[in-house]
Subunit: 237 residues, 2 copies
């Protein structure tokens, strides 16, 4: 794993193991932060993404990488945690219409709340999250207004903000980028997208990507627009 | 358990098993909500409070009661989750000075985030939390400004708010009350405080209250001001 000098300011990076969070980690490293990865085992069907998170962290380099086990299945109601069919082969028009069944109630709010706790404990003033408002316009908790409101709340919530006056910044560097622009930025920064895993419905035995869910289709089309093939489609993961 | 008519609007009630959350549940029931209790097993040393939460829910009546297991020990840094001594025998002046070591990083933000997910799943527009700004002035996430900021963020976060236009309200009915006023209100509403458990440092074997931590002292003094003795001091819990 590449070494991280210890005199860099610490930042918490939410790291799912997908294309977006890998790019976000590369951006945070490039911006000069000591990156503390945070990944969640939340009962997701695509549990294999946690292995991808581990690979991505090792590839790009982190100061540390923590895994937190959550119980989002307790509330259910999403194709990502329940036995609800993941939609397949949808065209971009259908994807952009309404909030998809793969939405998990309050997921980003829960993830960012844990990031807030982690940031306070390691004295970090910066949190990075790879949300994207364009490709996932149906997810309410991927919009700039939401991120701004979370940041404002966070700065009233913690001892760090109140006693030490340390302003927390929530960075969402991909929020206004297209998937094509995200991949271009990641390739400039040396991200190996073969290590990432974005599929909502990987094979139970093989762990191979399905190639047909919204997430697989969005990234495949973006690679095609760049004249490339998605390396995650070829394996080995 | 008292029956709850099913035609009442649902609300999520954060229920720790302490004096404040028991009073909050009584207030929510009195206001006409079908109460869905939510309790957290977060690695707290005073784990026995979960039994109190169960007793209080059965005593006052709830539509359902869910328990969620969280991993706050992963971040540590609090006397409530770590092997750090709980302060004892402090006078009110010392208690009101600064943020105590019993503060858990971002705890209320994490709890409210789960409440937000639960509310969305059961179609609730109301969440109740028993935070109190006066007795616990050192906790940043017990202040009215914080609660307002969380509510604003929550109303940008969920499918319920965005697609269905259902405004979520975070109720903090105790926030401006003194401990004496809280107890008076609870007694009016029939709360049996012998069932509650507020101690930060109960006996490992007996589960009995210590009588000397900030939480024990605050409630004992309040009962004394009302010419009563704290029933939790006498047991049986």
């Amino acid at each position: 794993m590449p070494q991280t000098p210890t005199n860099l300011p610490p930042a918490v990076i939410l790291l799912s193991g997908g294309l977006d969070s890998a790019t976000t980690l590369a951006i945070a490293r490039n911006a000069g932060f000591a990156c503390h990865g945070l990944s969640f085992d939340y009962g997701q069907r695509h549990h294999i993404e946690l292995e991808a998170a581990r690979r991505v962290a090792a590839h790009l380099g982190v100061a540390e990488h923590r895994f937190v086990k959550l119980d989002l299945r307790a509330f259910g109601h999403s194709a990502l945690t329940d036995d609800i069919a993941v939609p397949k082969d949808r065209d971009p028009g259908a994807m952009s219409h309404g909030i998809p069944i793969t939405y998990v109630p309050a997921r980003n709010t829960i993830f960012l709340s844990y990031a807030l706790a982690f940031a306070e404990v390691i004295d970090a003033a910066d949190v990075f999250i790879g949300v994207n408002a364009l490709d996932y316009s149906g997810y309410p908790d991927c919009r700039p207004r939401y991120i701004e409101a979370f940041e404002r709340m966070a700065n009233l919530a913690t001892r760090a903000a109140v006693e030490a006056g340390r302003k927390l910044t929530i960075h969402a560097p991909l929020i206004e980028l297209s998937k094509v622009q995200i991949i271009q930025r990641g390739l400039e920064l040396g991200v190996d997208y073969a290590l990432t895993h974005s599929c909502y419905d990987p094979g139970a035995a093989s762990g191979r990507v399905c190639g047909r869910c919204d997430s697989c289709l969005l990234r495949r089309r973006a690679f095609e627009q760049l004249g490339l093939s998605d390396p995650a489609m070829a394996g080995p993961f």
